[in-house]
Symmetry: D3
Subunit: 226 residues, 6 copies
């Protein structure tokens, strides 16, 4: 049976639990297993470029020791995605790229709600790698702690305001730019009338397509080690 | 229970069957239903711009008369996607956009294998609408009939050669640029070592994400009627 | 003698008359005839994507039954231009593309005044097809009915305000983004000091160049049926 | 009566005669006068950047001393167009920009046939100023003298081969990238099946639109002196 | 010993002195000589496109009569850089291009402070020639005379306000868009906390790299005369 | 006295020596000191994305413990440049970005000679961060070991062939895409007639501009920690 491995590169148990909750609807009888692991070697959260580089080695080691049909890196700055793709012949998805791709399939312009100002530069790097920066209508930073985001209500009003600001800037869908926020998705959508994309869910659905539509996935991406 | 409606805008029974076969792996116990309809008012296939415009009114009428949580337009030139989005508040996916988005999540550059030369202009229009034309490494036309494509072996060698040509031009994944070809996906992938994306499967997986992660989908895209 | 056929794809007699008035200055003794036809099968106006697709078949049939040296599709969203180019070997111009091209010859950045918000998406699609979206300084929608626009004075102040807003956003010329408004051109230009381009006139002048400079026009564009 | 002044910035009498021949079909009874002047202070031809800069002052002086409703700079590298626009409130067209704009209205990609290799950099500068470089399929230099081009037959075969090479590179129309070649337009079109745009004719038709559709043209472009 | 020749294309003695002051720190014992010449044939300042074209011939003649290992055109609109590169096989730098390049090495987005509104169009042309216009966060014009700029304090507050406005628009570094302002660099940097790039200094440092790292510089750029 | 610190992030003594040789011409009496350090914690060379991430922490620690007016990261894939800029208020240059910037100041299109195929993806990421990918004419990989490159003659012919291939693809200058190759610069330039840019030298010259033109450099880039 196919296995999808979702890697939370930080060491936060609460964040890992939020990711697990997000991807739970994608576990189907007869479908691929969807497992979530948190990296105990990782930092509590990825707030800086230094954190972003530091989690790459743990991610690569995790992929080397765990067998899966599809790996998902569950941090909204997609750390180490190129490095990870070079250590396995199986597909590796990043949740931010999956969310952006889903946004591009649903609308011409999208917005992103970031946890802190400093996340924007990492999102921008991912958007450039995808060739998608031209379709970012706006990115709004909440500038809150991850604990606030993980709380069911604490950051809700800020999220709704940020989603509305994205829509006013021309976004037709909004991406939650941090993991562990899936409990906010439906309420923000309901409050704003703007479709909201949760990155782990976007990646889980895409992983089902990758892992569920084929029996053999050990085919390497042509340019994996580039 | 959520329902995903996959609309084959042409009247070809064989093509509709091919689409149904492609999306079958995405029907899970407890998951959304995935129904496929072919439009009897549609042309046998969509070979020209005139065909492409002509199927829009039947697609819109189909959406108006059928209730679903997510609609999928299953023709690789995404006909009428803007018109369809203006007649429903539920999400509408086009299989080509879904395939391109999936390709962009998996690699920096992708190739497309088209059924005929004339398809390229319609694919290009969709890529421009997405802002994704810069990542098209190459598009190769097979210049065969749809009957040849639906056959299990007839066009296989041509497909493999086209996928290889895309890879040589820099594509790290290849998109099958026509529906009803899912039987070719795994063999072409195996022969070339290049991941192959089948558009109906990419859209079905994405539709699971859209329809399966939320209880209410009657939230309109902000700019749906633009 | 060469013949330029200007096709008004809607069924509005008043709109057809406005178009005829716009192109009248381009009928010269010894020059090509400039004929205007309105399509009785067309909708009263093109307000939606569904209308936009629906007029394509009537436009194609009109071109098939009428002989001309150059065809002009006189709706500012250029409906069916690719389809039309595939049914004739003679040149087919769209008035919006002709206006944008003229704007690009006269200035580095241009603005567009649209009749309604929903027109913007169709203009954007045409700009992308031309590769010209980067030079759109602003598009302002008047959100009025076509009847108001056809009136000599009703929408005048709104037009002037919109043209000024385009200029403030960096536009050095402004395009009237709807047909039948040629009576507004000179007054808006005079009031704002910004050159104003009327699409039917831009296309008529360009058609003179195409139809008047050559004796044989049955040369197909190389990629006409793409 | 409106007057269109076509300025040949070089001192070649033969070249000026070729330009006059090109624009002759655009003189209509009751239409604007179309006058051609050659600048005796100009160089025999514009082969270098130094020539290109040197003709700007003579062009500006010509515009200052001659009254017209629309000025056309008839050299395919559009020398001094910004400077010229700063010395008059009347519209100034460059023949290359007019040809490129016409090409963009007729097709998605175009080719250019240049007289010499060194012309390409000047054409590229004009394309960038227009935002149109993305639609240049190919530019082919003939590397002949202007005398050869002015001859009715001398460079014909080279032109046909260059136009074909442009079409093979994806051009759907071809621009003659030098003035005085209008006698080659129809034969190259006939030989290749690719529409051919002659810059002076494209500009003359556009000038008719500018000068013929309005009684007052002393309205300055908003950013004329930028 | 290598020689760097810095050419001030205007005839202002004060401006030439300001340039000499700017580049003085780049004269090192044992390093290349750094000479500054002002062109007596040039205009007092380069305020218009006409001025911009008129200084090209004097610049070319200066390069023809003066021997150097590297030439620097010291006007922030880089007049005649292509023409200059065609008259010598030695490297020719423009101070604006050198400043922009330095800005791109230091940050992702930069701002420019222009002397007058009309400078913006010339800066934009240079940015397009470099392919760098996408990274211009903002350009703010001071709209003062060059005399005011050359004064140590007169324009200081305006400069600081303009640099702050650039930073607010997203610039991480700011370029002084006129020569002769090096005395403003450190104070503006200190007042705003934003790194400030002085074009003549950026070019002088780059010229040291070009002239100091090699014994032979008579190697032509491949496309110098294009 | 100002100090420029050049950080070789790999542990190769030979590579560090090559870098020291490259920057030696930029040590002037009275000018800033130019010190080179190699990181003993670094890998022997940076061949993979994993290496690229792994050197970031050592680079950051080096900057934290060493005082300098300007830091230069001397690896042609610019590892950790964003992270480094967040740990110091002094300027941080990457040698690849400095080389690309210098190339853009000298010509419109450039080529890169890479040590191995896998370097291309890292160069591309840097080019995208700069907004410069549109000006890369070609990148050619030598696919040799670093030892071969450090040898005076071993890879010379391959380098010359690669530089020629870049020039044929339209490059007017060529960048050596690896450090420690400065001994190849002049010979390749002499053999090909194409200017060759050595990244450490380009960065050293630029660092002189940054460190030599100001007394105070503790001004943070505005967005350093983004």
């Amino acid at each position: 049976m196919a296995r999808i491995l979702v890697i939370n590169p930080n060491s936060s148990i609460a964040c890992g639990a939020g990711i697990a909750e997000a991807v739970a609807p994608f576990r189907f009888p007869g479908g691929p297993s969807v497992d979530v692991v948190s990296l105990t070697e990782g930092p509590p959260a990825i707030y800086s470029w230094r954190d972003w580089h530091a989690v790459v080695e743990p991610i690569c080691r995790c992929i080397e020791r765990e067998t899966a049909n599809c790996y998902v890196i569950a941090c909204a700055s997609d750390p180490g995605i190129n490095a990870a793709r070079a250590v396995t012949r199986r597909p590796v998805l990043g949740v931010f790229r999956a969310a952006v791709a889903t946004a591009m399939a649903r609308a011409e312009r999208f917005g992103v709600v970031a946890i802190v100002e400093a996340s924007k530069a990492r999102h921008l790097a991912a958007l450039r790698a995808m060739g998608a920066e031209g379709r970012l209508a706006a990115e709004i930073a909440l500038n809150v702690s991850m604990d606030a985001l993980l709380d069911v209500t604490a950051a809700r009003d800020g999220l709704i305001a940020a989603a509305r600001a994205c829509a006013e800037a021309g976004a037709d869908v909004v991406i939650l730019g941090c993991t562990g926020m899936s409990h906010h998705r439906a309420p923000v959508e309901a409050a704003t009338g703007v479709p909201v994309i949760e990155p782990c869910q976007a990646a889980a659905a895409m992983a089902l397509g990758v892992a569920g539509a084929s029996v053999t996935f050990d085919v390497p991406p042509h340019g994996a080690n580039r």
